[in-house]
């Protein structure tokens, strides 16, 4: 792939990216959330079309306009969420839509199971073709997914035909030579146990040995060194570096991922820390375990972590959206139990959810009615809303936040930044003192970002406490007073704003103890 460029409205997701994959090599693709890894792979797999650049396979220029084109070229992608039909067998899933038929339409079951057995044996997987996918563990499902991905490729055709397979395995490059076979895996181990990981890695090595070119996207540095041959680090839609694995060290990798110009200016105003507003003690359950921290008046507590580290889950527990299964929550020193978000709101906790379209707004309602939504009971008399009460409450807030819309416009017509301001506005009218902002500036233009930061300053100045979850390190460093770093459902470390650097936060988020400078192998 050469000079790949892709822009979405408002952002350039990829800006001249080069990536070269070799048959038989495992190519590790690293980068922070939003660095452009997924976009690049979506272009390779035909889910997106590129704006510029070219793709060559075995030296021949190809156009990939749809997933169908990618499949025809032997490109297979295994996404984080598996796409299997749980109530069908392993064999049925692998050959879904491509099952061998006879007598004009009837599935040839013996042939189906036979082919599946051969394919599985060939891939070194010990799975029963007749087993229901719903009965399998996650690693086994992943294997089914891999087998499915490879079932239509030249690789599998070769293995289905035993004589061809004999030739193919004798000459590994031959297979890849006839039809390129590229396998992309997006964080395949995120939900696997270490034994399952070992199985998966053995399989990946076998595939590579057969001449499949593998792209492996991961956040885990240990995996990079266990199975990688080459490594490419991406940041902000560009490739930082591509190196053979022998030539990089862990601290070097972390630096490549994190290093960026701190050109963004953050209008942080520090406020004297006040009394404790919220204390979280040993909260666990689901992906979370043993999380304890406290939030004080006047501070912004940043929470860093990779996708899936449990940050949003934690936010939802504190905001009453999910039940707190283990541990306890204390608001201003008193223990509280939240059954529903309304209970948390009654204790002055307001959540700005991660996904504003799905969780923050009612798209068909007006700006004023969205802002007034949490305050219905207070606004109404005997359940009746006077004609102007919602706009009377919402207008000053919308004006204060500089929401560029009339109060009677449905919010679905607003831009991302203005929508986010409306979600923020919902919590400004009430008695909320504990704000939980989950990715407050995602998909928001620069101007609106600064306004949101200014709003955070005003909130802390009047004695509120803010928990800010963000995947943008500069924002976390720029706006937080303290930063908690989460890793796999636990609190990895706490870093004071003064001591925080991108490298430190990122190392902790990656699960490395403070080892970036020592350069130890993992």
């Amino acid at each position: 792939m050469r000079g790949i460029r892709k822009a979405f409205p408002g952002v350039v997701a990829l800006d001249g990216v080069d990536l070269t994959l070799e048959a038989g090599a495992v190519h590790m693709l690293l980068g922070e959330n939003g660095a452009g890894k997924s976009t690049l792979m979506k272009i390779l797999s035909g889910a997106y079309t590129k704006d510029a650049g070219d793709i060559r396979i075995n030296g021949r220029a190809v156009e990939i306009r749809s997933p169908r084109d990618a499949l025809a070229l032997g490109i297979r992608v295994i996404y984080q969420e598996l796409n299997l039909v749980p109530h069908l067998s392993v064999a049925e899933n692998i050959f879904l839509g491509a099952a061998p038929v006879r007598w004009g339409g009837f599935v040839d079951w013996p042939e189906l199971y036979d082919r599946t057995s051969r394919l599985l044996a060939d891939l070194g997987m010990s799975l029963d073709p007749r087993a229901l996918v719903s009965r399998l563990g996650l690693a086994q499902r992943q294997m089914v997914e891999i087998a499915k991905a490879l079932s239509g490729s030249a690789f599998a055709k070769a293995s289905a035909d035993k004589s061809a397979f004999a030739r193919a395995s004798a000459d590994t490059s031959g297979v890849a030579g006839r039809s390129a076979s590229v396998l992309v895996m997006d964080e395949p181990t995120s939900s696997l146990t270490s034994r399952e990981v070992t199985q998966l890695f053995a399989l990946i090595q076998r595939l590579a040995a057969r001449g499949v070119a593998i792209v492996y996207i991961t956040h885990r540095l240990d995996e990079v060194f266990r199975i990688g041959h080459q490594i490419t680090v991406m940041r902000d839609g560009r490739v930082v570096a591509t190196r053979p694995i022998q030539e990089v060290t862990v601290p070097e990798l972390v630096r490549m991922m994190a290093n960026r110009d701190l050109a963004d200016h953050f209008p942080k105003i520090r406020v004297e820390r006040g009394a404790e507003l919220l204390r979280v003690e040993n909260v666990g359950g689901g992906p979370l375990s043993g999380i304890s921290f406290s939030l004080h008046a006047g501070e912004v507590l940043g929470i860093a972590g990779l996708l899936g580290a449990g940050r949003t889950e934690l936010a939802r527990v504190v905001a009453g959206a999910d039940r707190c299964q283990e541990g306890r929550l204390l608001v201003q020193g008193r223990e509280v139990r939240f059954r529903e978000p309304e209970d948390a709101i009654a204790h002055g906790i307001g959540l700005l959810p991660e996904d504003r379209k799905a969780q923050g707004l009612v798209p068909g309602l007006t700006v004023a009615r969205n802002i007034a939504l949490p305050h219905g009971r207070r606004l109404a008399r005997l359940g009746i809303l006077s004609r102007q009460c919602e706009t009377a409450m919402a207008d000053p807030i919308a004006a204060d936040l500089r929401v560029k819309a009339t109060p009677t416009q449905p919010v679905r017509l607003l831009s991302g930044g203005n929508q986010q301001k409306v979600v923020l506005g919902k919590w400004l009218a009430g008695d909320v003192r504990i704000f939980i902002f989950d990715e407050p500036t995602r998909g928001v233009d620069v101007g609106a970002k600064v306004e949101i930061y200014n709003l955070m300053n005003r909130l802390t100045a009047r004695g509120a406490g803010i928990i800010m979850i963000s995947s943008e390190l500069p924002e976390l460093l720029g706006m937080s007073d303290r930063i908690l770093v989460m890793h796999r459902g636990r609190l990895q470390t706490e870093i004071a704003a003064a001591d925080a650097t991108e490298e430190r936060v990122l190392s902790a988020a990656l699960g490395l103890a403070h080892s970036t400078s020592s350069g130890q192998a993992i």
Partner: protein, 310 residues
């Protein structure tokens, strides 16, 4: 609230339909016939009020016709047992409301799909009505009760006035109360509404309760008009009510629509039936025409919406 342009479209459709019938048959555009249409529409129009609440909130209620039958036979039986209307009326309304609340509780606390829950209630309420009456209609009531359907104020039939009152009250609830706001909010985005601190389950339960109440009100008028409470009454009412709601521009996805639209939708259905009868169209053919009108109306609506959104 300003009536969105889309409902003017439905209104224009109604007027166009009336104009065509005026040309085709001299009997259509007479005061007595129009009042007749309004009267006949009233029952579907009232049931459709409840349906509109439910569909606005993103649900569906298939049990309305069976609840009409059950409330009706409870009303008829208790009247015949010698109870006064002051006892029988609240009793039958309570039966309707309870059926609705049961639907709502199963949907919100039980987490079951509304389609399944109300499909079950549709069968249960129908069965209960049949069991209660041993399958026989309960007929013959005191004129003081029948006046609810046969009476007139001036020249306007009582059911038309009752329907108007129900629509006015329901419109007020929907546009001027927190409950009404939550109906739209829940249908528009249930999770966002929950995260805003609205007690979702309580309100969803109440929404189905409203639908049950509307079915019971329709049962009162139906029983009074027929002078008979029949356990097989209200068959297919759910489909007429859904049709009126959807023709009136309410989105089956929830969160978008209005009662004004539903009223126009119910009138379109009523005018169409009446006109086809006047024209002597066979009842078999009528079903085909009505089905086609429903599909075409929603098709136009969908096309207009698609245009508006781009």
């Amino acid at each position: 609230m300003i009536v969105p342009a889309r409902q003017f479209g439905t209104l224009i459709g109604l007027l166009a339909l009336c104009a065509i019938l005026w040309i085709l048959t001299p009997h259509f555009m007479t005061v007595s016939n129009l009042l007749n249409v309004a009267e006949q529409t009233s029952i579907n129009a009232i049931v459709a009020v409840g349906m509109t609440f439910v569909i606005l909130s993103g649900g569906i209620d298939l049990s309305v016709g069976s609840i009409v039958a059950l409330s009706g036979v409870v009303l008829g039986t208790s009247l015949q047992a010698g109870h006064s209307l002051a006892v029988a009326l609240p009793l039958s309304l309570a039966v309707g409301v309870l059926c609705g609340l049961a639907n709502g509780a199963l949907v919100s606390w039980g987490g079951l799909p509304p389609f399944i829950v109300t499909l079950g209630t549709m069968s249960i309420a129908r069965g209960a009505a049949l069991l209660f009456t041993e399958g026989r209609p309960v007929s013959g009531f005191d004129p003081s009760f029948r006046v609810l359907a046969t009476g007139r104020v001036g020249f306007i039939p009582a059911p038309v006035i009752e329907t108007t009152v129900v629509y006015a009250a329901a419109h007020f609830v929907l546009s001027r109360t927190t409950f009404g706001r939550y109906v739209y909010a829940i249908g528009g985005n249930e999770e966002a509404t929950r995260l805003s601190g609205v007690p979702i389950r309580f309100h969803k339960t109440m929404i189905y309760g409203v639908s049950g109440l509307m079915s019971a009100l329709a049962a009162v008028i139906l029983t009074a008009r027929l002078n008979s409470a029949q356990p097989i009454a209200g068959m297919m009412y759910e489909l007429d009510a859904i049709a009126a709601t959807v023709i009136g521009g309410t989105s089956l996805m929830g969160g978008d629509g209005s009662l004004a639209g539903t009223l126009v939708g119910a009138l379109i259905m009523g005018v169409l039936r009446n006109g086809l009868n006047l024209l002597g169209v066979s009842s078999f053919l009528q079903q085909i025409v009505i089905g086609a009108v429903i599909v075409v109306a929603v098709l136009i609506d969908t096309v207009l919406k698609r245009k508006n959104s781009t």
